[in-house]
């Protein structure tokens, strides 16, 4: 997994609540058996005027010029500013894969759906929960200032605004540790193989029916 320590980047404002995973990456693109290549179809139904299909040449498709990510001032954005309950809906990890493939490294919102939130951490991407008032201020600042950038400092657990104001955020210690070091958590869990085997043995005694072949 990619490390995440600190990141500074252009901010794109997605001014909608309840952005669901069907919107982030529509189902027809879930048929891929790869982890990469979802970026061109991120927010497909909002970004393009036609209906997208897997395997298309996306550079030839008509763009929805009104959609935020198609506006020239947000080209190259790597920090997504969003509204409450971002990532609700399905468990598809294709959603963080698509955001990451597009170039996003962090998503800031007042709240996230649980599964999406969890999936982000597995992919070196940082979802950050900030108070709704702070998010509102960030939206106003992004709209007001072209080229608006934020710095996300995971080690210090702060988002730094261009005016120097630091907004603190919470992150689980274990997830922070994994992101800072780019750790593969399967490898970490396998270090506890003995404990897993001991647990299995005791469960097998008590609930043998769980252990069907």
């Amino acid at each position: 997994m990619d490390k995440f320590i600190t990141h500074t980047g252009l901010v794109a404002p997605l001014d909608r609540a309840n952005v669901d995973t069907d919107q982030i990456i529509p189902k027809q693109f879930l048929k891929s058996i790869k982890r990469t290549g979802f970026g061109p179809n991120l927010f497909d139904e909002w970004r393009y005027l036609d209906e997208g299909q897997p395997g298309q040449d996306n550079s030839k498709r008509p763009l929805n010029k009104d959609f935020v990510l198609n506006q020239p001032r947000y080209l190259g954005a790597s920090v997504l500013l969003a509204r409450r309950n971002f990532g609700c809906g399905s468990s598809r990890e294709h959603a963080p894969w698509a955001l990451q493939d597009f170039g996003f490294r962090a998503v800031l919102a007042p709240s996230f759906a649980d599964i999406f939130f969890n999936n982000c951490f597995k992919n070196g991407m940082l979802p950050i929960v900030l108070p709704e008032d702070d998010i509102e201020t960030l939206f106003q600042q992004v709209f007001a200032q072209e080229g608006y950038q934020l710095t996300v400092d995971l080690a210090e657990q702060v988002v730094v605004r261009p005016d120097g104001v630091k907004i603190p955020f919470e992150v689980d210690a274990f997830r922070k540790h994994c992101l800072l070091n780019g750790l593969d958590d399967i490898g970490l869990t396998l270090q506890e193989s003995d404990a897993i085997r001991a647990y299995e043995a005791s469960r097998q005694q008590r609930e043998p029916w769980v252990f069907v072949q």
């Binding site: 001014d15 909608r16 609540a17 309840n18 669901d20 069907d22 919107q23 529509p26 189902k27 027809q28 879930l30 048929k31 891929s32 058996i33 790869k34 982890r35 139904e45 209906e51 395997g55 509204r83 409450r84 309950n85 609700c88 809906g89 399905s90 468990s91 598809r92 990890e93 294709h94 963080p96 709240s111 996230f112 759906a113 649980d114 599964i115 969890n118 999936n119 597995k122 992919n123 689980d172 210690a173 274990f174 958590d185 399967i186 869990t189 396998l190 506890e192 404990a195 897993i196 647990y199 299995e200 469960r203 008590r206 609930e207 043998p208 029916w209 769980v210 252990f211 069907v212 072949q213």
Partner: protein
């Protein structure tokens, strides 16, 4: 002794190691696999040279991509990407020795219909699947929730997940449900009350006399949509109905093990005086048949309501969401729900494709015809076994005589990964779980309803109050 909730008991019984930061390594008893969210996980195993930790814990089937018209093998699937995904699962299960109920197997079906039906999922288990509707299985007093593909790989490789305990929320529905009010209406009403993020961070326990009165299949419908209330997991405590449901299923214990299991399962209830972080109380008598009108499951109303006025909404973010929903849905504030015309009807999905759902739809359709203005009514059973039973009961004939289409099992038009989908602008009365933009096909407009309400809309050509039928 400290009084514990059902969720506390389930979580604590699966802790392998507790970490200082509050997270724990928890053991996973069952891992259900389908073709969409598993290929990258199997690929990860291969790349790392790992094997599944406990092969027998895994149950695989095909559901999201399969056509619902008859076909014999994966080679018959026309869409290249769908076919490759189906074949990839077949190859992966073969290579790793994982049990799969594949094409042509009567047990094949939607993961969350297949697993309880087989007794693959039993009370007291932890159950995960790369699908957010895994919460369905919580109806059997399991801790069941969806996971992403990285965690699919993690479970395959280690039989564990790193998890932090969620908070406890009890949703009590007490009293008698009125005529025509089903499990689907109960859960849609709950989502209307607490909102799509109301359960975020919580494990939900559905309790109260109205939940007790539901069949096991009804409880599955309720738990299925816990995720639409923001909660990864929903559950119902064990009672006689739970035990009766589990008895005699292919992967259920028998003999002495059955007796021991039942003794343990009886303890899977929240203790008297157990503390919940939040409690929501709902009067069953307040629940009417529900219809969603917007593009989020919380945009839902009783069938006799009129559509809300966004200018009356004081929360600016919510108001903007409502305005966008009106634009997408092609509806106007003040309109009566019964004036919404339907172009297609979908009866199926992991929410409502079990035998009782099909019986409820058939009861409404019996002796009637679909309205001429309705282009298509799809009835898609949840599994091969549901299909077989429905045919033994003659339900298929009722549907066909009413002009409905009787199909093969799968996820179908719930998410339109196979050929079943809406055309832009079409309104659909759907027994599925999500009314997101484009969910049932690009530009499609979904209205979530119960099976009986869907069948009634198919006959009338617009939404009707099932209580008047």
């Amino acid at each position: 002794m400290v009084a514990k909730t059902l969720y506390d008991k389930l979580f604590e019984a699966h802790v392998v190691t507790q970490r200082d930061d509050g997270s724990a390594l928890i053991y996973i008893d069952r891992h259900i696999i389908h073709e969409v969210t598993s290929p990258q996980a199997f690929e990860g195993l291969r790349l790392a040279g790992r094997q599944p930790w406990r092969v027998g814990a895994n149950f695989a089937t095909l559901d999201h991509n399969v056509p619902t018209t008859p076909f014999k093998s994966a080679a018959d699937i026309e869409d290249d990407t769908s076919r490759i995904q189906v074949q990839t699962l077949e190859e992966n299960t073969r290579a790793f020795g994982i049990r799969e109920f594949g094409i042509g197997d009567v047990r094949q079906g939607i993961v969350h219909v297949m697993a309880p039906e087989q007794g693959a999922v039993l009370p007291g288990m932890t159950v995960v699947c790369g699908d957010s509707h895994t919460s369905t299985n919580g109806a059997l007093a399991c801790l069941a929730h969806g996971i992403g593909t990285s965690e699919v790989e993690h479970v395959l490789a280690t039989q564990c997940l790193v998890a932090k305990k969620m908070k406890n929320m009890q949703i009590r529905v007490d009293g008698d449900l009125g005529p025509g009010v089903t499990a689907k209406d109960v859960v849609l009403h709950i989502i209307g009350v607490i909102g799509t993020a109301g359960g975020t961070g919580y494990a939900l326990e559905f309790a109260g006399s109205a939940i007790r009165s539901l069949s096991m299949e009804g409880r599955m419908t309720v738990c299925n949509m816990a995720i639409e209330a923001g909660a990864r997991a929903g559950m119902v405590a064990v009672d006689d109905k739970t035990i009766d449901y589990c008895q005699g299923r292919p992967f259920s214990p028998t003999g002495e093990q059955w007796d021991a299991a039942v003794e343990y399962w009886r303890t899977l209830v929240s203790d008297e005086g157990a503390q919940f972080d939040a409690v929501v109380e709902i009067n069953a008598a307040d629940i009417k048949p529900q219809v969603s009108w917007g593009t989020s499951p919380e945009m839902v109303l009783p069938v006799d309501a009129t559509l809300p006025d966004p200018t009356q909404e004081s929360d600016a973010v919510k108001r903007a969401g409502m305005e966008r929903a009106y634009e997408y849905m092609g509806l106007t504030p003040g309109m009566k729900i019964s004036d919404i015309k339907v172009d297609r009807v979908f009866i199926g999905s992991c929410t409502n494709s079990r035998i009782e759902d099909l019986r409820a739809a058939a009861e409404v359709a019996k002796g009637k015809k679909k309205a001429a203005s309705v282009k298509q009514v799809l009835v898609v059973p949840g599994s091969g076994l549901v299909k077989k039973q429905a045919e033994e009961e003659g339900l298929d004939k009722v549907f066909v005589e009413a002009g409905f289409e009787w199909r093969e099992p799968g996820c179908s038009m719930c998410l339109a990964m196979n050929p079943d989908r809406l055309q832009p602008g079409e309104h659909c009365a759907s027994t599925s779980n999500r009314n997101f933009e484009g969910r049932q096909g690009n530009g499609g407009r979904t209205h979530l309803v119960s099976p009986a309400m869907a069948a009634a809309a198919a006959v009338a050509g617009h939404f009707v109050d099932i209580r008047d039928c």
